[in-house]
């Protein structure tokens, strides 16, 4: 019934001060699927992603990716294994051009973590540049490639973030609220893009508040409340689950 498990989060605990951010979280992400994690603010969703990419070390438990233990690895090592993350607040290189922003992650996945040769010219890297241009125009940023990325609108920065994640062709893409702060039109365009890459077989974990986005994309949904997973299942099951409605929506409609 279940496919190949790519990411396995098992028994993860994390406390900050006295606050239990994550308690005994177990999660399995299937290959090729889009797995949404939803939950009220402060439920521990971002903490969970941070544990996955090595930003936060859990107090207990492990995260394994394709059989490799991620816990305790450096962020760049985790990325090299094929896990890319799209940040909630745009974490771009604001002084560089839009094109450079996308080329940098492409270099990381082509050359590995560290490849140094000052005697290659950036202008000779046509293959990577073409790839970056293609990804950018895919996301509707084709007309801004030479602009300084710091001066883009917030919505465009979010799309640039997405481009930086996509160009690495990661095995697993972690998206932290990819459409927050976007206009409805931009949101729909992002959903389209995400559906397209889903067809290509990229596994995705997505944290999202916007239920429209969640139900358009997710194959499976986990609900996190107060650091614990309270429900898990296909979108329709979650929609009808009274426990979720109570914890997450205070009984209101979805």
């Amino acid at each position: 019934m279940t496919g190949n498990i790519v990411l396995n989060i098992s028994y993860v605990d994390k406390t900050f001060g006295g606050l239990q951010a994550l308690s005994n979280v177990n999660l399995e992400i299937e290959e090729g699927k889009t797995h949404a994690i939803i939950g009220p603010n402060g439920a521990g969703k971002s903490t969970l992603l941070n544990v996955c990419v090595g930003r936060i070390k859990p107090d207990r438990g492990t995260v394994t990716f394709n059989g490799e233990i991620l816990t305790g690895k450096e962020p760049f090592e985790i990325n090299q294994l094929g896990v890319a993350r799209v940040f909630q607040t745009p974490e771009i290189f604001p002084q560089l051009s839009v094109l450079d922003n996308v080329m940098i992650p492409a270099f990381a996945s082509r050359d590995g973590s560290f490849e140094f040769n000052p005697f290659t010219l950036l202008s000779d890297e046509t293959k990577i540049r073409d790839e970056a241009l293609r990804v950018l125009s895919d996301l509707g940023l084709g007309d801004q490639v030479n602009n300084v990325s710091g001066s883009m609108s917030r919505g465009d920065k979010r799309r640039l973030e997405l481009a930086m994640g996509l160009i690495q062709r990661p095995k697993l893409l972690l998206l932290d609220e990819p459409t927050a702060g976007m206009s409805r039109a931009d949101t729909n365009r992002t959903i389209e893009t995400l559906i397209r890459i889903k067809e290509r077989g990229m596994t995705k974990v997505i944290i999202e508040h916007d239920m429209h986005v969640v139900f358009s994309l997710a194959d499976k949904i986990s609900v996190l409340a107060q650091g614990a997973i309270i429900a898990e299942g296909a979108p329709d099951e979650i929609r009808g689950n009274p426990k979720v409605q109570e914890a997450y929506l205070g009984g209101a409609q979805i």
């Binding site: 974490e91 290189f93 996945s109 560290f114 140094f116 005697f119």
Partner: protein, 378 residues
């Protein structure tokens, strides 16, 4: 010839740079800077500043200890003169390489921290080198007297070929003494080489990675880069530039003293870089040239020359003007330097190159109000 490939624009820039550097004795003559001692300083400090800029300009890591590498380069070069040969080639190579080795150690340790902690660590290492040069290491550095080349030094290679030395040996290359103009042209050749390497680094993916680290290091790590080796390579390259500059100092004047390692010397190269323009290619050389030029001019002025200069004014005004200016010249050169430091950081944080391009932009906007300028400076 892939090694020497440049884009058309950069090739022109390189050609112009070579022409400008080699003709310096001619075009600097009218402003009184066309003599070899000063020209050598331009080239040497230009090289030092280019190298410093590869670290500070590209990665944003502010080292306050680069003078240590300058000192290491100088001492090594003098030792090469003493033990190996009066030829400048081994001196420069040893100086550069040993400074590079020092940079590997100091960089490896210092780069474990960022921001001000990094600055303090480099400062601490440089101070240690400086203090040790005056105390425990006197057998190597000859303490306060400074290390100099003597006639009776062994010089194994020279001895093998039976080269005789004068009472005061000087560095030489294929029989040409490296003082005066030949010395300048040798330094200029090194400067051109250094500029070319810097240009290639700026135009390489490696250079882009360094800039990206400066902009957002955290993001680099989540993008799959181990940033520390990149930073270390940049640190070592810039340490080697400093070592080469230090060895050139010894080439043009074969003696070395510990004062070259003092932290004010590290401060000076920072000033050169920010004066010209941090992160720009020509800026640091420009900054180095301007500072060394004015140091030279200002130090030579004294009160009587000032009175002469303002002779045309009525006596009372003349005295006032001289009284205002005189603390800034002669021995007071450092006061000018400090004031310049403050003024530049406040009003022109982008340096002269940035200032010039801003002025140019303003003018071009006036002349063609509709045209848009988007291209950024190199």
């Amino acid at each position: 010839m892939k090694l020497f490939k440049l884009s058309a624009k950069d090739a022109i820039m390189m050609a112009v740079f070579i022409a400008v550097v080699l003709t310096m004795p001619i075009w600097l003559k009218p402003i009184g800077a066309g003599y070899p001692d000063l020209l050598q300083k331009f080239a040497i400090f230009g090289l030092f500043a280019i190298g410093f800029n590869i670290l500070f300009g590209l990665t944003g890591y502010l080292s306050f200890g680069h003078a240590a590498f300058l000192g290491v380069g100088s001492y090594t070069a003098v030792w090469s003169f003493k033990l190996v040969s009066m030829s400048v080639i081994p001196a420069v190579i040893f100086g550069t390489v040993l400074a590079g080795l020092f940079a590997v150690v100091i960089g490896y340790v210092s780069l474990r921290r960022t921001g001000i902690y990094f600055s303090i660590l480099t400062l601490a290492f440089a101070q240690m080198c400086y203090k040790m040069a005056y105390s425990v290491l006197t057998p190597i550095t000859n303490g306060e007297t400074g290390l100099r080349v003597l006639r009776d030094d062994p010089r194994v290679v020279d001895a093998m070929f039976g080269v005789e030395q004068n009472a005061v040996p000087v560095g030489e290359l294929f029989g040409i003494n490296m003082q005066g103009y030949p010395g300048f042209y040798f330094c200029a050749a090194m400067l051109i080489l250094g500029f070319f390497i810097a240009l290639r680094i700026f135009r390489s993916p490696f250079g882009m990675m360094l800039t990206a680290i400066k902009t957002n290091q955290t993001r680099m790590r989540y993008t799959g880069f181990n940033t520390r080796p990149y930073l270390l390579v940049a640190f070592v390259i810039s340490g080697m530039y400093a070592g080469m500059a230090g060895s050139l100092m010894a080439v043009t004047d074969p003696l070395a003293g510990a004062e070259r390692m003092q932290w004010t010397a590290s401060g000076e190269v920072v000033l050169m870089t920010i004066l010209g323009g941090v992160g720009t290619l020509v800026g640091p050389i420009l900054g180095a040239g301007i500072i060394k030029y004015f140091e030279n001019i200002f130090s030579a002025i004294n009160e009587s020359t000032l009175h002469q200069a303002f002779d045309f004014l009525p006596d009372s005004i003349d005295n006032v003007v001289v009284a205002i200016i005189s603390p800034f010249v002669g021995d007071g050169w450092h006061l000018t330097l400090g004031t310049l430091f403050v003024v530049i950081v406040i009003f022109l944080p982008g340096g002269l190159v940035d200032g010039i391009s801003r002025i140019r932009k303003r003018f071009s906007r006036k002349s063609h109000a509709s045209s848009t300028t988007g291209a950024s400076e190199g």
